[in-house]
């Protein structure tokens, strides 16, 4: 797959600011433009990640951000893929660039989230799986996280302390990230003593919902070189795969999996296929990865990703964690940014924010949380209703 260049990245700090999401997005966009040394007038395409929580302006986020930055006649698109929206927006931008439709694109997403559980749209809507799971079962997002955590304990002997150690590790990373919402270092006892949300997961095992914004300026390799970017971080692969039938692992927002009677389950499940696709595009494998940003909606899910991305065999994630491999200073640091546990989820911004972190890391600009010698990084993420999301960047 042809590569594109990441010229600049920017973020609005995550928090619970309660302000208009447009403000976060434009802040991030301006920072990315400045970082790229690209004038807004040079951007030919704006790829917005959609928020569904902020009314109409959120549904047309591409044009909302374009207008906020000043209409220049740039082309625009807006993408929604739940938590994977940012990767989809990046993929749309890549398509525009590689087809020659534009040289430079801005990818941007931002959100303002309400307090508490993410919940479905209002009304009586039995034709919406998202509505059914709340109404009939009370299956909130943490319920699915809890099911997977318990399954991991049963299959692989994980303990609640293993899950807590993920939080402890990531919080240690977050101390050095001024853009994170939570920058306190937590100990094991802090996690152990936080209230249970969905057994076996506790409050500090589960990510919050946040306000935040992230953006990147991307271009063709030719344009980058012609404009003085001699060694930019490059996007080597993007995965936005859907599951392959039968998907036999229960996940958001479904009430049931597919059946594996008629068609055997594929050897690699949906979550595994997300990374598989991006490795193929990039022509690289797990052994090439220096660091990863993965979607730790819960601490336990981070461990699943180690295996799904091929960092270790099934059941060995706890060992990787305990051996310090995935801590900064280890061989393959995971969530050097602090991860979702430190940021909280700002849905349309999150997949972009993961790439922002990798970009800083690959440019050796991550300060105290710098991963030494990082050259290749991968993100992994998943949006409900079957949206895979992974981006592989290299330098």
């Amino acid at each position: 797959m042809d590569e594109i260049a990441i010229l600049g990245v920017g973020m609005h700090p995550w928090g619970k600011w309660g302000r208009n999401f447009v403000e976060y997005g434009t802040h991030a966009a301006r920072e990315a433009l400045s970082d790229a040394n690209v004038a807004w007038s040079e951007v030919g395409f704006v790829s917005g990640a959609i928020t569904v929580r902020c009314g109409y302006p959120g549904y047309v986020s591409g044009s909302t951000f374009a207008r906020a930055l000043g209409f220049t006649g740039a082309q625009v698109a807006s993408s929604y893929a739940a938590c994977a929206s940012g990767a989809t927006a990046l993929q749309v931008a890549r398509g525009q660039i590689l087809s020659g439709a534009c040289d430079v694109a801005l990818v941007v997403g931002a959100d303002t989230t309400p307090k508490g559980f993410l919940a479905p749209n209002a009304g009586d809507r039995p034709d919406d799986m998202d509505w059914l799971r709340f109404h009939l079962v009370g299956a909130t997002n943490p319920v699915y996280f809890g099911l997977h955590a318990r399954r991991r304990m049963e299959l692989h002997g994980a303990t609640t302390d293993d899950f807590a150690m993920v939080k402890v590790k990531n919080s240690r990373h977050s101390v050095h990230n001024p853009r994170a919402r939570f920058t306190k270092e937590y100990g094991l006892d802090d996690v152990r003593n936080s209230p249970v949300v969905s057994d076996p997961l506790r409050l500090l095992d589960i990510c919050a919902t946040s306000d935040g914004g992230a953006a990147m300026v991307v271009s063709s390799m030719d344009w980058a070189r012609a404009h003085g970017h001699t060694d930019p971080v490059r996007v080597a692969g993007i995965s936005t795969v859907t599951p392959t039938y039968p998907d036999t692992v229960i996940d958001l927002p479904y009430l049931a999996t597919d059946s594996s009677v008629g068609t055997p389950a594929p050897g690699r499940g949906f979550k595994e296929s997300i990374g598989d696709r991006v490795y193929i595009e990039a022509g690289l494998g797990p052994e090439d990865i220096d660091l990863a940003e993965v979607y730790d909606l819960s601490s336990a899910l981070e461990l699943d990703w180690y295996e799904q991305l091929g960092f270790c065999a099934k059941g060995d994630a706890e060992k990787l964690l305990r051996d310090g491999v995935t801590s900064i200073g280890g061989r393959l640091p995971v969530n050097a940014s602090g991860g979702l546990g430190a940021f909280g989820e700002a849905v349309p911004a999150q997949a972009i924010a993961q790439v922002c972190e990798l970009t800083w890391q690959l440019r050796d600009q991550a300060g105290e949380r710098q991963v030494e010698g990082a050259r290749v990084g991968i993100t992994a993420n998943q949006g409900l209703f079957g949206h895979g999301s992974s981006v592989l960047v290299r330098r």
């Binding site: 299956a139 318990r150 039938y245 036999t248 008629g262």
Partner: protein
């Protein structure tokens, strides 16, 4: 005057109190089931001009995993206890269809009472009520004294 028992959502399960079944969809001539039927998808076989059969799914399975919601879920969940009593949610793999189906566990069973692999049975229970109706949903119940190894 007794309240009328009605399903919380029509067409997703049978209302036989002694032997309830989930109502699924099935691709004719193919071992491919869906739940709920009205939101079937996934199998590329349904991309053709296929009229799904309506079938009753098996009402026994093995416990795949379990968890709780220690905080009241937001609407459209209807909280019926005050103060809120945590619910237990289970995922059960049906024996015959080899598909994992979610549901609440009946009251009285928490994480300490359950173990992965144990035999579970479908049952009906009240989800919430109004002045005239009792709204019913499927739930899962452990088949006590019936170890998973025996299946």
């Amino acid at each position: 005057m007794p309240k009328t028992r009605v399903p919380a959502v029509e067409g997703m399960f049978t209302m036989d109190p002694d032997n309830p079944h989930l109502i699924g969809g099935k691709v004719p001539g193919r071992d491919s089931w869906f739940f709920p039927r009205h939101l079937a998808g996934g199998d590329p076989a349904v991309s053709g001009d296929v009229e799904l059969e309506t079938v009753e799914l098996g009402n026994r399975g093995r416990l795949w995993s379990y968890t709780t919601s220690n905080y009241p879920p937001p609407p459209p969940f209807v909280v019926t206890t005050d103060p809120y009593v945590p619910i237990t949610v289970v995922a059960v793999e049906l024996h015959d269809e080899k598909m994992v189906v979610l549901g609440q566990c009946v009251a009285g069973f928490g994480p300490d009472d359950l173990h992965v692999g144990e035999e579970m049975q479908l049952t009906l229970d009240t989800l919430y009520e109004d002045d005239d109706h009792e709204y019913v949903v499927w739930k899962w119940r452990p088949v006590t004294g019936c170890a998973a190894e025996d299946q």
